[in-house]
Symmetry: D2
Subunit: 307 residues, 4 copies
């Protein structure tokens, strides 16, 4: 039995639910959103879809957070999106408050569950959620960037994407770095191929913005990739993925991505197996993360003070 | 090899593309839309998604309709949606013009292809497209309603949806009729169960409107069900589905749904195997369809006359 | 929930169990065989296999027939194989006794279950089992021949097998007939293609013997095809398959194959939709079946008399 | 495109072919065996099976080794089985000669291919094949033992096998060791659970013999697990598996299993991430392997000398 709770079913949340159930990763799904009727109508859509496919997963769409109880895994894609003119710090504060609230409500009802953070800024939200819930929390981190990097190289070199290997690490978003020592094509190091590394890095940074500009949001890519993280846990696949897992840094739990084995148990990390340059990148990502995180947390505490 | 062209990738078109490729029904996909950059950005999203799943389907997103050539199947979800205050007849005229245009352009480049109509009013658009293209065209018809009916009965009786059998037929939309003689639960006729037939019929009619009101459109249900029609053709499954296939009526080709075998060849229809009451419903649906269709066609011709 | 009991796990029985579980058709499997330790060791093999695939189907291998209880479906591949020098009639008598025994033991413990006969002579064993159990019984009939016919035409014409449609009907085995009116390639009648019908018919008749001569038995073909019959029932697929279902003939229940819709409910048969020649073949198959069956039954009764 | 050659299709070879194609890991299969007609008849069986499943993989069964050309991967399950009274060393010599022969014939025709050894003694045969072919060769190693270990613990603790993680390493066969530091249940170290480690180790060692005694051979377990190794490579899954990969030891290439990332590129190994005790076990396995291997190689050379 694999019981998965989904918190927040906007466009990307819906895609995660759909793709993870279709791939056989979920035996029982509880789908929560704060928007009235949304989870319930989404439940209907899913029931219609699964009728044709003979899928017997039990589904409940609900506006009652108390229904998310006894889960093996909880996927959190609730949270505000960044609006024009809004700083990243403002986004942090707004969504961190949501996480604090969810942490207090979800943790007691789902003992032993793994939490998977999807809401942005995703790595920091994982750290916040874990701080307040004391529960094991992972972030989707750079696994989406990892697949974007592979797909770009494949198209550029005109090889099937199944022959491009390698990972992106560090903080999710614009500061993610391609871990070039891990990138291989047909089993050979990337330096044997005629590819412009800067172009690859630019693609990974810019393609989400491009997709959002034209399509209004990224859904199919991240939705499917995140569903595969759920599947790796749920079906015990031992897949190496570049997700962000908790680590101690100056006494704080922070979340930074590096390749790690994902299964019913998470780990070990493959970080020490990376070459020196890639490891240096990850270390500096941790430092940057820590500083920004502490800054943001100060802001959060400020905003929580009674006036 | 199964080459499928997709014309129009709005919300539902995207779901059809995604679900049909993930289910293994498509070896090569050409995705066209008139909106600049949309098919190309959607291609990127799909490439990211398929990188994690090891899917090797060749994908091309394009704004050039000429790229849709040599296909085995073409799925048409292009067309305007009905806007508030717009009559069904106005919708017919607007979308019929799009179909006439597509018919002229697609038919010469895709000899022997099957066309699957998704754009509304779906059955009439299939008739229009076939009239002008002279190519074999089917409509998704009532297969979506069929699955909605099954899912509702399953939830109501608290049985798995895999134990509810039966079909909805007639014209797609508000005039669709549940073919009660075909409806069985655990292999037993529906009359052995405590279910309110009127309630089932109401659900099938009203649920799409309910979903649209809350979610802005129906996507996951129809997208998955229509993808399964593509799969039944592409993988030669001989699945009985309630889709609308061409039939002669008073010298016209019209499209009305009844259960029919879907495979690399379409047919035979199971209509003559239905009980008398259900057959009577289908006959009267054909008559109604024919009359409305002829009316609408007159309107279309009017609107095409040079002034 | 789909609970399936498997009676007899020789080579072909094992393949059916494996293929049906891997394809997602079985939620709970009870596997019985009379050979000591065989079901239990087979259970171990399956557990090892499903560990890598993340399959959570509950499996029990047992030598105790009483464990096969509360099933939704029971698949019977127990029975003796035909040995050199043994007449078909002798085979009938020996295996019919096994079916009488199973009928008495299985029926009371599995109320409402569907029985699927695999043991040879398969159609007659279905009739015998149904006669003595009074439970709804189907036979795998000519679905295996159907797929052999399609695969041969595909290879001969060098087209993908997914473009060859059509069915074989009548009694399973050497008297099966290709229902030529149903055979289509790329949606066109077979007569448009350069194929020797006699050659196709010979292939269908002779290939099992050829495979048995070299490989010692047929397993992968029938095993997979029969697993797909289970899947069509279990996932409610409405696939048309040429299996043998019970029909009244001169007051007896007999089993002869023609294309029929397979889902959680079985039917309707597409027999009346066939052309006259194919229908004539089926009628004469029924007559032949009936006569041989009555002969065999007489022999059986003789052999049951106390001496 | 993923082209896979299969050398040897006895019982286990057949299961590997079937399971890897059904799981979508193979686009083109060339199936070779020395036994006349066997690959060709097996091809027929597969064609029948894939007709029902809509699988379009190109298949060629052949007695001509030259047909195995241009492959991306070659799976070798040819070789003699150990007969009663035969020493392991005798088995080594006999099968090593077969590998030398295959190495000379396969390597020139399949440039850049990965070779996966299945024939016993599997790790040593991988070393022999790589020595003579100079091509990258891996052995199925202890991945089969890994899944047997997990399945036993799952059954014993009555948890789904998807919640048992961990690996077996060292030389395949009786000297394999459970890497206890990697074994976790529901994400928690095994020492939190009431399980007898000796019993687990005994099971892993003895269950193949038990299965062989009753069933005549192990097929479903190893066949499925090995097919998943092919799938991990072919679909680029980055799954960690305990297979044996080449390593230098005293100037020789030897094959010993430890957890390693399996994808279109193989590696990195997770050996350095194991705890000290498990690493010590692996080191001593290497030493033992090396000594036995050198002994066996001497014997082989002896037997090759002209008399």
């Amino acid at each position: 039995m694999s019981k998965v709770g989904f918190i927040g079913v906007g466009k990307i949340g819906q895609t995660i639910v759909y793709s993870s159930i279709v791939s056989g990763a979920v035996d029982e799904a509880v789908i929560y959103d704060i928007i009235p009727e949304l989870p319930e109508k989404f439940e209907h859509e899913l029931r219609h879809a699964f009728a044709t496919k003979g899928i017997k997963t039990e589904i409940l769409g609900t506006n009652n957070l108390d229904d998310v109880a006894g889960m093996d895994m909880v996927v959190i894609s609730a949270g505000k999106p960044r609006k024009p003119g809004m700083s990243r710090r403002d986004l942090f504060v707004d969504n961190a408050k949501i996480m604090m609230d969810l942490a207090g409500k979800l943790a007691p009802k789902n003992p032993g569950a793994i939490y998977l953070m999807v809401a942005n800024p995703v790595d920091m939200m994982a750290s916040v959620f874990m701080k307040y819930s004391k529960e094991y929390t992972i972030s989707t981190g750079d696994q989406v960037e990892t697949m974007r990097m592979r797909s770009y190289i494949a198209k550029k070199l005109k090889v099937p994407v199944t022959q491009v290997d390698g990972f992106v690490g560090g903080e999710h978003g614009e500061d993610a770095v391609v871990l070039w020592s891990t990138v291989k094509v047909k089993g050979k190091p990337i330096d044997n191929f005629n590819i412009n590394k800067q172009e690859v890095e630019d693609y990974v940074k810019k393609i989400p913005g491009e997709i959002i500009r034209v399509m209004g949001g990224t859904t199919w890519g991240p939705g499917t990739i995140i569903a595969d993280i759920i599947k790796a846990v749920s079906l015990n696949e031992n897949r190496v993925m570049s997700i962000a897992t908790p680590r101690q840094y100056e006494g704080q739990i922070i979340h930074v991505s590096s390749p790690i084995v994902v299964s019913s148990s998470i780990g070990p990390s493959l970080e020490t197996l990376l070459d020196e340059k890639d490891r240096w990148h990850l270390n500096s990502a941790m430092k940057d993360f820590y500083e920004a995180y502490m800054e943001n947390m100060k802001q959060l505490e400020q905003s929580l003070k009674p006036t």
